[in-house]
């Protein structure tokens, strides 16, 4: 089973990319499970026709409330199948303002593992859509505990998304040494400044020592699909955008690169690199 984790700055489009990637992989014939690892539990909405599915930690909390524990949880209550045939799970999180969401994500993943969710549904590819940034040690646990083996970073041409991607690469560098996890590549989800992104993101990927996998343009088709609560390969199968996600799925399946990244530790160096590219682009 391939275990792919998608990390990136909050709001950069991880859920959009993950859902469309899941759909494209499913179209290729793979049995896919998408696991949303964000307490907001909105990762799988596009695949679930715009609906929120019940989260693992909600079910867990409910069982605790009636004096039971995680062993009382049934897979049927936490794994859902999308109309398109993709298995969907949302880790969820504790109630706002209390508890540890990072530890919660790990607990949810552990419950899936204990209940043998992947073998029960014969999953080929598991995609983990992980909360915006590695805000604390808890969110690096999917990597540390071996759930996320291939890590893809999503970024755009915006500096803060580059900064977040670099930070996540630092976490991967720290954690990859102890297991099989590694950085598998960078995906650009364009914010519109395509010329700059085409110039900078591949250079940034090279600096991290990882492949630049795919460029996803800013497109009204993708936005329309999101609003329609369906993935692009289903909603607009003949579109150029659908082809992009098919290419992304193919590239990921064929990509066996997993590296320990070489992130930029000095923020000034990252800024300089970014500015130099920005100046060249303006010229």
């Amino acid at each position: 089973m391939r275990q792919i984790a998608i990390y990136g700055k909050g709001g950069i489009g991880k859920s959009t990319i993950s859902s469309n990637l899941s759909a494209a992989l499913h179209e290729m014939g793979h049995t896919v499970m998408q696991v949303g690892c964000d307490p907001k539990r909105d990762s799988t909405r596009i695949l679930a026709e715009g609906k929120f599915i019940p989260a693992v930690l909600e079910e867990h909390r409910e069982q605790l409330r009636i004096g039971k524990d995680e062993y009382a949880i049934n897979l049927k209550n936490i794994v859902f199948k999308s109309p398109g045939g993709i298995y969907l799970v949302e880790a969820g999180g504790p109630e706002p303002g209390i508890g540890c969401a990072g530890r919660g994500v790990l607990t949810a993943l552990q419950i899936l593992k204990d209940l043998k969710a992947f073998s029960t549904y014969n999953i080929d590819v598991a995609i983990y859509d992980v909360l915006g940034d590695v805000v604390c040690g808890g969110f690096s646990m999917p990597i540390r505990e071996g759930f996320a083996e291939e890590i893809y970073l999503i970024c755009s041409g915006g500096f803060m998304s580059i900064y977040a991607a670099n930070n996540i690469a630092r976490a991967v560098q720290r954690l990859a040494k102890r297991g099989d996890a590694g950085l598998a590549g960078i995906i650009c989800n364009s914010n519109g400044d395509e010329a700059f992104e085409h110039a900078f993101i591949p250079a940034f990927a090279k600096r991290l020592g990882t492949p630049f996998v795919q460029f996803v343009p800013r497109s009204p088709v993708i936005q329309a699909c999101e609003l329609g609560g369906r993935p692009v390969v289903e909603y607009a199968p003949d579109s150029q955008e659908a082809e992009i996600f098919r290419n992304l799925a193919k590239a990921i399946i064929e990509n066996d690169s997993r590296v320990i990244p070489t992130p930029i530790n000095d923020l000034a160096e990252l800024e300089t690199m970014y500015r130099q590219c920005l100046v060249k682009d303006k010229k």
Binding site: R65, P94, I98, G99, R103, G104
Partner: protein, 452 residues
């Protein structure tokens, strides 16, 4: 001697990877438990994993609580409470004990619940109408600092939560700020000696913070005219709060605690001065000194042959600072190392003053840990160490002939508490030195090591 002193403030020491920084002190959670368990007819609820409850049990033993009067409870947090928060289990536990015949339930939070954001104050406020006793939440996560910090946190909460301000002042009264920060393993005897002296002087003790203290006494603290702090390590914040909020004047401030002849005489005189009972104070001093000298004359402590022996003192500030004068004047040794667990500015100033007045120039280490102690012992190479069993191990391989275990002795059981304060305290300390000296003669191995 004769060298420039090497002063090391806490945090300024080496961070070399070879440095083992085993602490002498437990965490803030333990300090808070030590303080809360000093209030009688109460219970303590540790909102913590069950391992942390060990610290409560330890505090229970140190405070000599009576299990017929004081109960300890624990929410026994596990990973589920880390993920979802432990407020539910805390509320459930409080409800389960809502009919306990106690005056207060102290709810102490450990590290885990504070990291995940459990609001113990909110839970206690919400449940207060449902229970018959006072709910006192103390946010005392271990990571907040050492046990001294925990003592200060607990005292601050207890004072702010329980003390009533609509009481009349009682002339000639005192509130004892006696935090359990005393490294004398049988410290309640120190407190008993102080109470006995105050009784003889006619000074009324309004409350003790905290040792077997009824909650009514705590509520009535504002009626005290003065406060008397019995620790150099913790409790100053409480004394300052009492002074600022209720106008309670702190007496004997800046004077080393009454361990040894001079310190005791100075401390009693200051007390006599403040309460205008100098004559009584002088009588106590005269009687005490006569008793010590008569006893020594009859008992013949041979340890006096340690004249001018280089000595080290490794202790908390409460015992350690007064010991400097005791070791110099009573034992006639030469302190060449003073290593204190504490590193407060007030401790620094007090010790500096003592060393200056004694004309001493030893190596001084503040905020010491076992590694720093070992290094300092290697450097100074004293013949005698006043410390604990830890220093007995830390001085292995060094030419330390005697380790006088005066603080935090482990594996030593004592039914009767023995004070270090006052005149009997002097004899108790002399006894410790004498026994260590005798053991040196009785042990073949140690006699050889001591090159007798």
């Amino acid at each position: 001697m004769g060298q420039e002193p090497i002063k090391e403030m806490a945090g300024s020491s080496t961070s070399s990877s070879e440095a083992c920084t085993d602490p002498y002190l437990r965490c803030a959670f333990n300090g808070a438990a030590l303080t809360a368990l000093g209030i009688s007819h109460s219970a303590l609820l540790a909102h913590s994993p069950q391992g942390c409850e060990y610290l409560v049990n330890n505090a229970f033993a140190s405070q000599e609580c009576d299990y017929m009067e004081t109960m300890t409870l624990c929410t026994k947090l596990c990973v589920d409470e880390i993920v979802h928060g432990g407020e539910d289990i805390l509320a459930r536990t409080i409800r389960e004990v809502k009919d306990l015949p106690i005056s207060a339930l102290f709810v102490l939070s450990a590290c885990g619940p504070e990291i995940v954001g459990d609001d113990i104050v909110g839970v206690c406020e919400a449940l207060q109408p449902e229970v018959k006793f006072r709910l006192v939440p103390i946010e005392s996560a271990g990571f907040r600092g050492s046990q001294y910090d925990g003592i200060d946190i607990a005292m601050d909460t207890i004072l702010k939560k329980l003390v009533k301000d609509d009481v009349e002042k009682i002339p000639g009264s005192v509130c004892l700020v006696a935090p359990h920060a005393n490294a004398n393993p049988t410290w309640p005897a120190d407190l008993a000696w102080v109470k006995q002296v105050l009784f003889r002087m006619g000074i009324k003790v309004v409350a003790t913070l905290t040792h077997r203290t009824p909650i009514a006494e705590i509520e009535n603290i504002a009626s005290a005219e003065t406060s008397l702090l019995l620790s150099h390590d913790a409790g100053q914040k409480a004394a300052d709060y009492l002074s600022a909020t209720f106008g309670i004047e702190q007496v004997c401030k800046g004077i080393p605690l009454p361990i040894g002849m001079t310190n005791t005489q100075r401390w009693l005189t200051a007390l006599g001065d403040r309460f205008d009972i100098l004559k009584t104070a002088e009588e106590i001093v005269a009687e005490g000194e006569r008793m010590v000298m008569a006893t020594c004359r009859r008992k013949w402590p041979m340890a006096r042959f340690m004249y001018r022996t280089p000595a080290a003192i490794v202790a908390d500030a409460t015992v350690g600072i007064p010991l400097v004068r005791f070791v110099t004047e009573e034992m006639e040794m030469t302190p060449e190392l003073v290593a204190l667990y504490t590193s407060h500015r007030s401790v620094w100033e007090l010790l500096e003053g003592e060393l200056k007045s004694l004309g001493l120039n030893p190596k001084v280490v503040y905020g010491t840990d076992v590694y720093k102690t070992r290094k300092s012992l290697q450097e100074v190479r004293p013949r005698v160490v006043f410390g604990s069993t830890i220093e007995r191990h830390a001085s292995e391989g060094l030419p330390v002939a005697y380790v006088v275990e005066v603080v935090r002795m482990m594996r030593q059981f004592r039914m009767i508490n023995r004070e270090y304060f006052g005149y009997t305290g002097i004899l108790n300390l002399l006894e410790c030195v004498q026994n260590e000296w005798v053991m040196g003669w009785r042990s073949k191995e140690r006699r050889y090591e001591a090159k007798w």
